[in-house]
């Protein structure tokens, strides 16, 4: 602990360009304010786990009490974990669960794959177990792209009359979701549902479908439940999205890191589950 008596926490966030993670950050800030004697340093991992490793090394050099990491890749966290543990600094992973989670490291969040599964299950039920699905993916090779997409494909495979006919990367961006859908529509292929790895791309898809008068024939499911997405849902334009409790994750992570610094005991893993958001229940999430 520092001289000024404050608990110092270093946070490395996978990407500041990810809207959802910004809401997690908001929640962290709120919690820190509430606790009072906490000082938090936020850094942008720019979707690159090596940058995050550097940031963690810097945190260690600065003598942080605790470190919170939302990893850009869950497969490459071993050096981060080992570095923190070696320096005897508390380490809390948030939102994306690394496989390597030894004694002394903690996790708060959910399982990405589950979100994809929820999306696909909702679509399968709505379509009666048959139809063509297009997937809008995040940046190729990104961890959450892979896990969410795997989740969707896993469920679709359970339904013999359902298939993934198209998939393309929209790099999280709304304009790319829009362009990709324009091209898919132009191809004339029949499409029954678009499942997107995040909300922004889904909103782009909706714009393309509406412009071609096809929105009523194709359902669109997003993920994150951002304010923009909820507004679309309110207007009856988005069929479903998945709520990830940014507030819950953000608050719990700071809370855990704080308690660890104060040498209190905490749960090794805290699950903050996903929730399906549909026009029926979206008001709960506004």
């Amino acid at each position: 602990q520092q001289d000024d008596g404050k608990v110092k926490i270093g946070v490395s966030i996978a990407s500041f360009n990810d809207t959802f993670l910004m809401y997690v950050k908001d929640a962290m800030e709120a919690k820190a304010k509430e606790l009072g004697d906490v000082e938090i340093v936020y850094t942008d991992g720019k979707e690159d786990v090596t940058i995050q490793l550097s940031q963690v090394e810097n945190f260690i050099a600065q003598g942080m009490d605790s470190i919170i990491v939302i990893p850009a890749s869950t497969d490459a966290t071993k050096p981060i974990t080992n570095a923190a543990l070696k320096a005897d600094i508390n380490l809390v992973y948030v939102n994306r669960r690394p496989d390597y989670l030894p004694e002394g490291s903690y996790y708060i969040g959910s399982e990405e794959r589950v979100a994809g599964e929820m999306q696909a299950r909702y679509v399968a039920e709505a379509l009666g177990g048959k139809g063509n699905v297009g997937i809008l993916m995040g940046p190729l090779g990104a961890d959450n792209t892979n896990k969410r997409t795997d989740g969707v494909k896993g469920i679709v495979a359970d339904y013999p009359d359902m298939q993934v006919t198209r998939e393309q990367s929209g790099k999280w961006m709304r304009d790319m979701g829009l362009s990709i859908l324009e091209n898919w529509i132009a191809s004339g292929d029949k499409m029954d549902a678009i499942i997107s790895n995040n909300d922004d791309m889904a909103l782009g898809a909706i714009a393309a479908l509406e412009a071609n008068g096809m929105k009523k024939d194709v359902m669109v499911v997003g993920l994150d439940a951002t304010p923009d997405a909820l507004a679309f849902m309110e207007e009856g334009r988005l069929d479903a999205t998945i709520f990830q409790d940014s507030k819950g994750q953000g608050q719990a992570s700071v809370d855990t890191a704080y308690k660890l610094a104060k040498k209190e005991t905490v749960e090794k893993e805290t699950m903050v589950p996903f929730k399906l958001v549909t026009p029926e229940n979206f008001k709960d999430f506004l």
Partner: protein, 341 residues
């Protein structure tokens, strides 16, 4: 005096039909490459050569195309602009914040009344131009390499976009703003019209004004341009300002197209735009390049993105194919210079 021109005409020229055709192909290599690509895509997918799809392609390529027009002139002066994608993003969030619907719950300036659409438009173009002018001023006045000046702006403008928007999208924009990106006039998408107009203006600027002649001359030999009495610094600043102006317009169009300003918008667009210009025959050694070439370069990129999606080529393979075709097109185009030695 007659003998001067005579001497040129006197010189025996090889004028067989075959030679002519060969020189035609080699002179317009990239146009033939483009036509070849279009024929290939049409053969592969019936939907490719439909009016809707063609408009799709042009609409999708508008932002990169607008940026590429400016970057063409910048590269002609022997410069480069890496900042366009970031400037686009900055412009998109600022303009969007001035065009939000008054009843939107996440409105950035809740107390701001509904503004006429000209306000965000002017703001966008002004900010874009200002960023460009700053690039130009650094390049012209301090002599630092354009790569560094615009790399700095790339990083700074992206940071400014994030700070301004606090990293959030700025959404729910009013309809008159949205028209810029989604409207149509006589069935032709407004962005397409805008792109055609700007391409024409750029062509005129480059070929029919002092500005353009000076751009070529500065790129051709800056020292010579200076000694010929050209205010090199002034024209460099103007060139970069025009580039920034076009990036601003691209930000306007793109944010209106998705009805949302976003700080992450336009990532890597600068590379695509520079690629479009380079495919179109602009030389990084300065002094060489045309607007029509750049337009075709941008269309090649647009056709690739669209066609590979149509053909449902896997996202991974798309990259390999796209990269290869870009190189192949330029190699094909290059043969026109291969005779040099």
């Amino acid at each position: 005096m007659a003998n001067t021109t005579a001497s040129a005409e006197m010189l025996p020229t090889e004028s067989s039909k075959q030679k002519q055709l060969k020189s035609l192909i080699s002179k317009y290599g990239i146009y033939f490459a483009f036509i070849g690509l279009v024929i290939f895509m049409s053969a592969m997918h019936p939907a490719f050569l439909t009016v809707t799809n063609i408009l799709n392609i042009i609409r999708q390529v508008t932002s990169i195309g607008l940026i590429a027009l400016g970057v063409t002139i910048i590269i002609i002066t022997r410069g480069i602009d890496l900042s366009s994608g970031s400037v686009l993003a900055l412009v998109s969030v600022v303009a969007a914040s001035l065009a939000q619907n008054p009843d939107w719950h996440a409105k950035m300036y809740p107390s701001l009344p509904a503004l006429p659409v000209i306000v965000p438009i002017l703001a966008a173009l002004a900010i874009g131009s200002l960023c460009g002018a700053i690039n130009g001023a650094f390049v012209a006045k301090t002599g630092i390499p354009p790569f560094i000046a615009t790399l700095g702006m790339m990083i700074v403008a992206r940071g400014a976009a994030l700070i301004y928007s606090d990293g959030r999208p700025v959404s729910d924009l009013n309809d008159s703003y949205n028209f810029i990106g989604q409207g149509e006039i006589f069935g032709i998408p407004f962005p397409v019209i805008l792109f055609i107009i700007m391409a024409l203006i750029s062509w005129i600027l480059l070929n029919r004004t002092r500005f353009g002649k000076y751009a070529y001359s500065i790129g051709g030999n800056e020292q010579a341009a200076f000694v010929s009495g050209i205010n090199v610094a002034k024209y460099k600043i103007l060139v970069y300002t025009f580039g920034g102006f076009l990036a601003g317009m691209a930000g306007l169009v793109l944010s209106a197209r998705i009805s949302s300003g976003q700080p992450g918008l336009g990532n890597m667009f600068e590379l695509d735009a520079i690629a479009a210009a380079t495919i179109g025959g602009v030389s990084h050694a300065g002094g060489i390049g045309t607007i029509q070439g750049t337009v075709v370069g941008a269309l090649i990129i647009g056709v690739l993105n669209n066609g590979l999606d149509l053909l449902n080529v896997s996202a991974y393979w798309q990259q390999i194919i796209k990269g290869s075709i870009i190189v192949a097109a330029v190699v094909f185009d290059m043969r026109k210079n291969a005779r040099k030695n």
